[in-house]
């Protein structure tokens, strides 16, 4: 990749196997800091698998075996002294269906802080500040400031999804991974999340997996097209959609398969 801006995530020759099945083959990619990078491709192409590699949460799902290198924020995350706890604090994830915990809005936001600090180190005032800051950052503070005690699972889906993003922020992440964050939302909700992504861009590196090509096109700076576990094309979004280099990319974005 050319141009300014350093890379937040680099993979080199990454292969991933679920048992005998190879889900990713020889992925080498660099994801630029502070931008929104979208990953597109048909179902089963490995985009979600690749996303889950970036904070090694894959290992919680199945028997996975990986070879190759993944360098996140300058550190090979397979180094033996890498703590998964610290890695996942810096690299958070948002899911298809909003998954707020069945506790209050407030407790959802401070959940990460509670997990990662001693009980005695947490002052109520600090938590209050963290909640206000995180909710303000995702644009929920005005709507929810008087409803912090409300159970998070009763919010609208769009608010739930924003809350899931807010839940990551008190841990001061640098990368936010989004796995089809709008697929459960309606048009308004999708717009809300996309606008939030633009707000967050710059401060955070955002990687978004999406089924929706139109979304990739309007909401991302760079796009990665994947097929059958391989990376086919990685380019600035404009270029990928207007002048795809690879005929397979062209066929996909024209909707010939998918």
């Amino acid at each position: 990749m050319s141009g300014p801006g350093e890379l937040s995530i680099i993979t080199r020759g990454l292969n991933l196997y679920y048992g005998a099945f190879q889900a990713l083959s020889d992925i080498s990619v660099g994801i630029r800091r502070g931008l929104i990078t979208s990953m597109i491709g048909p179902s089963g192409c490995g985009k979600t698998t690749l996303l889950r590699c970036f904070n090694r949460v894959n290992e919680r799902y199945d028997y996975v075996r990986t070879t190759g290198e993944i360098i996140v924020l300058g550190r090979n995350i397979y180094d033996p002294d890498v703590s998964l706890i610290e890695l996942r604090k810096s690299v958070g994830m948002v899911f298809q269906r909003p998954n707020p915990l069945p506790v209050s809005v407030y407790e959802n936001v401070v959940f990460g802080l509670r997990i990662h600090s001693d009980r005695s180190a947490l002052k109520r005032a600090d938590l209050d500040v963290a909640v206000e800051k995180a909710l303000t950052e995702v644009g929920l503070w005005k709507d929810l400031r008087d409803r912090l005690k409300v159970k998070a699972t009763t919010l609208q889906l769009e608010q739930q999804q924003k809350l899931c993003i807010a839940r990551l922020l008190p841990l001061k992440p640098e990368v936010i991974l989004m796995d089809e964050p709008c697929s459960a939302l309606d048009v308004e909700g999708t717009r809300g999340i996309e606008e939030l992504m633009f707000e967050l861009k710059g401060r955070y590196t955002i990687v978004i997996v999406t089924h929706n090509m139109a979304q990739a096109r309007r909401a991302s700076d760079e796009s990665i097209f994947m097929l059958m576990g391989k990376l086919v094309e990685h380019a600035p979004t404009e270029d990928l959609f207007l002048n795809p280099k690879n005929p397979k990319t062209l066929e996909y974005i024209e909707g010939r398969y998918g």
Binding site: R88, F95, I115
Partner: protein
């Protein structure tokens, strides 16, 4: 009507459709009748028991000792004995079972060793109680030298209820949506933090229900305790809540019911029925408490 036109009205019921609808009606009635047939005996049994037990029922019957060679009097020693056995066996089985289930459901990977454990749990749940009785006799009474005692009998009951507690706990844990776990993992929670913060609070009502349902099983079993620590008769203080020590033998309701029904001649007619009512009543009471607790905890969790 012209011969070329349609001979019937559109969407009219054909013979085939009528047959399907008839079959559907029959099926509904058959299934409904079976559901009813399941409830009817229960009501029948309880009514009949109450009717036959009526002359003996009362506070006196509960707190009094059996008198005149168990032909009259009450059931206090058996009642307290059952309380002892059930409480101690569940106090042993519940923690082990719940912790094992947490391991199996939250930590264990799918490999041959854990599949073996699973298989063992399933098969253990299917072992007849008389076999547990023999095992208890060999393991606790003789090998561990606990003798014929409440301890041996309770441990035998614990072994018997353990696999079912494991299975029901696993089910409760598995019903917690994975999305909650994912939410935790991705803010860097360890498995233990995930379990403590999210999995347990959202499955505790199911876990407790599974455990409490085992009360009725432990209270009702006769064979395991007969082999390991329950006796026909044991005199205790009337109304004494703590008459036994762990090393003592004890009476138990299930065993007492068996004794007064089959082993003692000329028992006052209502005594076996009243014993059954007490057994049934205490189990139902415990189950009702469980249901109430469950409803209460359900109301707090909604996702």
């Amino acid at each position: 009507m012209a011969s070329t036109g349609p001979t019937t009205q559109r969407f009219a019921r054909t013979a085939q459709a009528a047959r399907s609808e008839r079959a559907q009606k029959v099926a509904k009635w058959v299934f409904g009748a079976m559901a009813l047939a399941m409830v009817a005996p229960l009501i029948g049994i309880v009514t009949y028991l109450l009717y036959r037990a009526w002359p003996s029922l009362g506070w006196e019957f509960l707190v009094d000792l059996p008198r005149k060679g168990m032909r009259e009097g009450g059931i206090w020693p058996a009642f307290v004995g059952t309380l002892y056995l059930v409480t101690i066996s569940l106090a042993v089985a519940a923690p082990i079972g719940v912790l094992a289930a947490i391991y199996l459901n939250e930590y264990a990977r799918d490999n041959w060793f854990n599949r073996l454990i699973n298989l063992a749990v399933i098969n253990l749940a299917g072992v007849p109680s008389i076999v547990h009785a023999l095992f208890g006799l060999g393991a606790f009474v003789y090998a561990a030298q606990f003798g014929f005692s409440i301890l041996s009998a309770s441990l035998t009951l614990a072994i018997m209820t353990l696999p079912v507690i494991i299975a029901s706990t696993r089910e409760a844990l598995a019903s917690v949506p994975r999305a909650f776990r994912e939410a935790c993992w991705n803010v860097g929670a360890t498995r233990w933090q995930t379990i403590r913060a999210v999995v347990l609070p959202n499955s505790i009502s199911g876990i407790l229900t599974g455990i409490i349902l085992q009360v009725s099983r432990a209270a009702g079993e006769t064979a395991p305790i007969m082999f390991t620590g329950a006796v026909f008769y044991k005199a205790v203080q009337r109304g004494d809540l703590f008459p036994y020590r762990l090393g003592d033998q004890c009476m138990a309701l299930s065993m007492h019911l068996y004794t007064v029904s089959t082993q003692v001649p000329n028992v006052k007619e209502s005594i076996p029925y009243a014993t059954a009512i007490v057994l049934l009543g205490s189990v139902l009471l415990v189950n009702a408490t469980a249901i109430a607790a469950r409803v209460f905890m359900r109301r707090r969790k909604r996702w």
